[in-house]
Symmetry: none
Subunit: 177 residues, 2 copies
DNA sequence: AGGGTATGAATGAAGG
DNA sequence: CCTTCATTCATACCCT
């Protein structure tokens, strides 16, 4: 299928991986300038660039090194997802902590914390060199709590399928194998 | 054996992956055989299987592991969409390369490339293994669909490369907001 | 030199 | 059909 992991045959595989000049092939390795700019954009509020924006960004960043549009696309996808993930993780932890203490009287505190929800530990904040608008990450994300787990969306599956297991065994065009 | 990546515990071996016996199964994890067959079908031209086809395929593939109709449905949806997306990105990237030269008025060339949108595969070999009327493989999609995109892209470019091409000091932060 | 972490890439599943 | 989200795989990088 789509190149499983086309992995760079580089390592050990004698295959023509001509990335000699320290540029490792295989997967995009952003330069610090590229990362800085991408991060700036993200901090400025850009979360999901459109195709055109991706193109522009890619084109411009290519000045600093090899880059493809898909790299930009993935970068934003991952960055956004990970921020969300981190936030979720934090909130869950907070909840756990609370729960753990049989809190009978901390309801007030509970709400307070919930409302705050984010305020991830300033782990990465070391980068706060920028003067700026610290509003950045606020992002009023819609809290569409999603029913995860095996909730099974079969029901939600709007696509219509015939009458279930009718056992229509047949010729099958799967004679590929 | 070049087994380096491709698979590993996850979807490999088409056996270990049994969500069946109480194992928590979050989402379908196709076995390699299933992927291979689906890919073959896709390469044979099947793009949008009908409900019946989906049913049949699903039934057949269930021999290789747990699978539901919706999985087949989604697989084709995703595969098709991603191939198209990939193609689009690649073609644009190529364009970028060209644009780097001075040709700001290469609209002719521009369109030529768009129309080409080379399709490396596109093997028509298998022809009608499928008795059905599934001509959809031909994907009667017209080009006019692309026309629109072309315009947008063109606009974006003119905007961008209107006068100079090396502004390393780009002010990305504002251009896309 | 090995383990942990950060992150690029891929893809199943939905929503619209 | 297109876009987006969640999850997972595969690596690069860093640390002890």
């Amino acid at each position: 299928m789509s190149g499983f992991c086309i992995t760079k045959a580089g390592r050990g595989g004698g295959s023509g991986n001509s990335c000699g000049t320290g540029t490792k092939c295989g997967r995009w390795n952003p330069t610090t300038e590229q990362v800085k700019l991408l991060t700036d954009m993200f901090r400025s509020g850009l979360r999901t660039p459109s195709t055109d924006e991706i193109q522009n960004i890619s084109t411009q960043l290519s000045f600093y090194g090899k880059i493809e549009s898909k790299n930009v696309f993935y970068w934003f996808q991952n960055h956004k997802a990970r921020e969300r993930q981190k936030r979720r993780r934090v909130s869950v932890d907070e909840k756990d902590v609370m729960m753990r203490r049989d809190d009978k009287f901390s309801s007030a505190q509970y709400f307070t914390e919930i409302n705050h929800v984010n305020e991830p530990e300033r782990v990465i904040e070391t980068l706060q060199l920028f003067p700026l608008n610290s509003f950045d990450e606020a992002e009023p994300e819609k809290f569409r709590l999603q029913a995860n787990e095996c909730n099974e969306a079969a029901a939600a599956f709007s696509y219509k399928f015939g009458s279930e297991m009718d056992l229509p065994q047949l010729d099958l065009r799967l004679s590929f194998l």
